[in-house]
Symmetry: D2
Subunit: 322 residues, 4 copies
Amino acid sequence: MTGNPGDAPAPPPDRTGNGPAVSRAEFDALFDSVRTWGRWTPADRGAWNRVTAEHVRRATALVRSGTVVPLARPWDTAPGPDNPFPALHYMSDLGDVETPEPSAHKDFIGVDYHGKAVSHLDALSHIAYRGHLYDGRAAREAVDAGGARFGAVSTLGPLVTRGVLLDLPAVLGGPWLEPGRAVHAADIVAAEQSLDVTIGEGDAVLLRSGSPRRRRELGAWDPSAASAGLHVDAMPLLAERGIALLGGDGDGDVRPSPVDGVHSPVHALAIAAMGVPLLDNLDLEALSAASAGTGRYAFLLLVAPLNIPGGTGSPVTPVAVL
Amino acid sequence: MTGNPGDAPAPPPDRTGNGPAVSRAEFDALFDSVRTWGRWTPADRGAWNRVTAEHVRRATALVRSGTVVPLARPWDTAPGPDNPFPALHYMSDLGDVETPEPSAHKDFIGVDYHGKAVSHLDALSHIAYRGHLYDGRAAREAVDAGGARFGAVSTLGPLVTRGVLLDLPAVLGGPWLEPGRAVHAADIVAAEQSLDVTIGEGDAVLLRSGSPRRRRELGAWDPSAASAGLHVDAMPLLAERGIALLGGDGDGDVRPSPVDGVHSPVHALAIAAMGVPLLDNLDLEALSAASAGTGRYAFLLLVAPLNIPGGTGSPVTPVAVL
Amino acid sequence: MTGNPGDAPAPPPDRTGNGPAVSRAEFDALFDSVRTWGRWTPADRGAWNRVTAEHVRRATALVRSGTVVPLARPWDTAPGPDNPFPALHYMSDLGDVETPEPSAHKDFIGVDYHGKAVSHLDALSHIAYRGHLYDGRAAREAVDAGGARFGAVSTLGPLVTRGVLLDLPAVLGGPWLEPGRAVHAADIVAAEQSLDVTIGEGDAVLLRSGSPRRRRELGAWDPSAASAGLHVDAMPLLAERGIALLGGDGDGDVRPSPVDGVHSPVHALAIAAMGVPLLDNLDLEALSAASAGTGRYAFLLLVAPLNIPGGTGSPVTPVAVL
Amino acid sequence: MTGNPGDAPAPPPDRTGNGPAVSRAEFDALFDSVRTWGRWTPADRGAWNRVTAEHVRRATALVRSGTVVPLARPWDTAPGPDNPFPALHYMSDLGDVETPEPSAHKDFIGVDYHGKAVSHLDALSHIAYRGHLYDGRAAREAVDAGGARFGAVSTLGPLVTRGVLLDLPAVLGGPWLEPGRAVHAADIVAAEQSLDVTIGEGDAVLLRSGSPRRRRELGAWDPSAASAGLHVDAMPLLAERGIALLGGDGDGDVRPSPVDGVHSPVHALAIAAMGVPLLDNLDLEALSAASAGTGRYAFLLLVAPLNIPGGTGSPVTPVAVL
């Protein structure tokens, strides 16, 4: 089920063994079972309310070597099958616009950051299911052209907590998970045992599929057609553990979606039901190598989104400190 | 010299007592005296090479309460005397573009981030003096329409180090420094003594003038006409201490500039001579209050710029952990 | 009431003689009296339905000298009191990005074009009064994050018709109208007589106040505080004449608004009641000089908006052919 | 050589019969033979200096029916094989940002317009060959981050002239030219004879390949890999005729390029050697139908670029009046 370097770059996803499709009714029951609406104030920080000052202290105490590992992919201005809306980057001053001295070089950046161009955080206003954001807020009333009044990234602020790397290829074998490979609850349990780490309250869980390595070695493919990611059957386990943040080198969801009529069921469950923000499109290759070297898969994790009032998320460079 | 809430919002700067103007020849001698060209590999990380794994470990060990304090101003899309080039923020999907379920809210952000609209980091490619970037690289060869090949923010990566808050109004009296107030070497020494903190090798020094509070209470003014900030006579001290990063709630430079023919002399000295990146336009009000509460002015500081290949800097949300 | 070059740049508007303020009830009655809802198919081309092929032929037959006069201001990237949201213009390739030969120079443009930065056309989706667009369409149903489904600029397409220049300073004296000067029905009639031109069915009426000349000579001011423009009492006359398009070197409305609680009453009457698109922020100085030279104030006018599906207008360069 | 609806969308281009490849030396001799450097003042309007007031009068006199035909494709925000850098279109106000009454709908547009996303005009600063723009200006001195000081679109201004449609599928048979089909001098002569029109001094020549129809019927393909367009052997004829503007529903060049080491040889010849701006990515389907109906292939053509100082071109909606 995992990949080999010689595989073709855009394989027809093999859903064999990923379990039966999930009906809409089953999904709705699952949604209700993991829902944490009404639990926290302020509600729009959702599961980040789980991260207390005590969690922060314990997370910083995890630092051993002092190695700092950034987890963001490069800002991608090149179009491709996995980058239909390239990020913008233009030089606005090459030392010839503003009067010297000194001369200045400046640049403009722009991006519709949800999507595939950049590593980013999804705030709780990003996703609505059946018209409702997290905590049952009506999406039409909470979000308009001025931005989100509930669940904005500016309300989330930064997160400092324990990060846990679930390095799935290290556990399951092969250099990466093939696109379309679903990660189930049993895979997560196996990863915990194999990597000697247990996901706990307030943790940030990072799933490595190895997709950036696959892209570098085999070329880009369309991740909306086939991505490794979580099957919805893994979400009750993560809900039970009380995670604060879920991230990965995909966008969380296995694709094609196993749920009838729901294109991004993990987004719906994590963000809208559980109040768990997502980190999409990370590059976890360096973190995988560093963790393999030390044998430790828990570390200090820092996520510092841009302070965008009303924003539904933010480009970010999450940082692990080992 | 410090301000009162009843002051007019855009005073003619009083440069009395800020010392005599600095000639271009004196400035050039100062530039040479603090220059660290040729010292590090890779050169385009400049003074961040001072921050070793040992610094990282010691910085994380500073955490006591676990309080997390973000230091970024809001992404500012409203024009004003201090925001001539407003940041862009547009909703690209209000749940009516992408097919549900789930429905998605998305937004586009854009900004020519050098300037006043957002908190940002200046990488070493941002500033050239006499045609040269840090380490003596010719600016015309290092930067073109494709971005910077030397001194890019993507080369810097994140910084984890000890932060030191020089809370100048707390030392000098008053709620803020008046625009135009120069901060001299003696002020820094006085602040160290008063706040019981000593700037050392690899530290990130954050200067608080209180400008965000002044703006909230008195309204916006044009900071390119009058800002509190460093006089160039403070730079030898900071060079001697071996700082890694210099930031503040202005852009570093006192304005009007005390140096004949050099509009941003602290930028030139820090970035081009010393290889010290700058953090501009922070909001240090919450950090000031928290530090006053604990009496501790040193803390864990995290700066995680976006991973923009060739970028001359990045919008950022620096984070202090107390 | 008209200006002199020695005047201060931002005068307190003198509304003496501009007539009494208009109550909301009077305005609503006026709105109903000029309304043309239900008259045309397709409704979202509004008064452009008045311009038949016969009008086009007659307009092209007006050409005498063959002089071509562009009517657009420069794309304005410089912030100022009359440009709070500057247009964007970045070079994306300076011959160093794309592989030669040949080498290419390329640029990115961006603009939130309604406002003051650029000459532009307002399509019928731009303005709603009491929640309704032209023809009584509910604004909330017609426009969402995907754009306008009714009244889009892509439905308007280009306009070729007779243009009439109402050169008000030429009629009323002085180099320009002072900001705040209201143009009344009587002024229009006086202009017709003085300039020997009669506004007719399907015409594009262009009002010159001389504001670009005033800006060049006296500097910029805030046009949302004080602009020369139409008083609402002029609108019944223009409705009666059956105009297709209304433009000028302001945005149509005199400011401050003479109507209680309505900030842009001419926009509401022209666009939402009469179905008449507007051309804002033109530069009519060259056309004024050319028309004065020939004594002819009617000409071939061409307006070719960008073909933006769902757009509420477009930056344009209208062209007069004399 | 022309297409059939049933063809596959992205065929390997058949260059048989398109003549032998052109060497770089042959191309350079061709460049010199059609060069008009030093001929005009101002040089940066290039061949538009050919269009005199007399041309304008004669062009307007061509109008018969009064039919107005816009020639722009829709502003394309959807990524695809022929749109790697989609145009931007965001709603900035849905009636909920600016205070009513009236409420306003507004939108932001942005585009790196050279490329495939939108119909646009190439000004003379767009292309340099061997480091030189038209008239022999050194590209590095004429263009920097502030834009073009020579050959800017703001210097061109609008064009009003006679347009000539060379409807190649109407002449050569089939609904469109297949991608890769080169148009030679002999094809142009055949088109003139068949369509009863003769290209003359100051004309705007529009070549129809039918590519928008092919795209609608067969789907998008990558035009940088295969496009119908001019072979360089057609350029001496167009130079001899003294055309002012060259446009089409491609970008002018046949692709793959027949010239060794020159990716866009028609761009180099037209813009850099002859001073002839180009119109790229038009939609000539409606004009083809209208011209077929009347049997007249000459008409009034209007091109009104945005007034962008320093711009290397502009998005446009050219307009034909029949």
